[in-house]
Symmetry: C2
Subunit: 149 residues, 2 copies
DNA sequence: AATTAATATATGTTTAAACATATATTTCAG
DNA sequence: CTGAAATATATGTTTAAACATATATTAATT
């Protein structure tokens, strides 16, 4: 379904207006599906983002700012996102000895376990969701990089 | 800046993973800039979305569901979004005579005025923001349509 | 070394999303 | 023409974003 049909708008002012609308619409569409996907695992996509970052560093501990710099959403409220993950025992936090301001964050075994369960389904889910060939996916990614300049 | 640098991740599992991440990141990037853009006008981008829809129908009145069907974010909480716009005198609402469940929504003169002020800057702002040629913008839009299948 | 600036995190508050449920009205089946 | 289903909106509640500000610590300046 073309974007024109999705939002019942027959014309756009120009190509830029159209691509802006389409990008936001498509991202919302995707995030809706992601939310559905994550629901059985009792986490949100921001929480998944943090877990994935921490697994990438495992078994090293990293700080909140380090997490923030790797987040998809750069405005994330890290302290409270971490609180929620700690409450679920998916990560743990300890004071950093080298810098008393900072915290050492690490993913727990339980966190790794949840991620491994997610992994086994995520790939398949994404490939069936996204109606692009591998080459088209790469091309789209390049255009998005260029979009941001 | 490539997506790999933006989120400090050197590799992706596959092209689909990469494009998903890039799409969400880019959309967040864009929405951040839009938010900045709209701030002086004292509206949010969802509110702008509604105003633009209403202007498209002006001087006809349309219902809440009609607005919803045209929204970028299909999960929008229409009643409360409308409340906020009414409070700012940008739209007005009256009971629909033909269907007593529904409401007739219309944009006010003040709403039209705000939109016209926005228009005069939005085009220019988008064209300088988006680092794509017209053709690339159209190509990106097509790939996004295809992405959703 | 004392002062200032910068950094890492935490917290309070306002605002909006998310989710479920409720109410009124209309439509449709039989 | 009556009751069930569908529709349009409203509202209550929980949860998370957004924004500003505070605190503690480290780094930089003079």
């Amino acid at each position: 379904m073309k974007i024109e049909e999705e939002i019942k708008q027959t014309t756009f002012k120009n190509a830029y207006q159209k691509v802006v609308v389409n990008l936001i619409y498509t991202s919302g569409w995707l995030q809706g599906r992601q939310q559905e996907f994550f629901k059985p695992f009792r986490i949100t996509s921001s929480q998944f983002n943090i877990l994935r970052i921490l697994r990438g560093q495992h078994p090293n501990k990293i700080s909140g700012v380090e997490i923030k710099s790797r987040m998809l959403d750069k405005n994330s409220d890290i302290p409270r996102l971490l609180d929620r993950l700690i409450k679920k025992n998916l990560i743990s936090k300890s004071p950093c000895p080298k810098d008393k301001r900072a915290a050492d964050i690490i993913i727990t075994e339980e966190g790794l376990h949840v991620l491994s369960q997610i992994d086994s389904q995520l790939d398949e889910s994404q490939k069936t969701l996204i109606k692009l060939s591998k080459d088209e996916a790469l091309q789209l990614s390049e255009l998005l990089d260029k979009f941001r300049g």
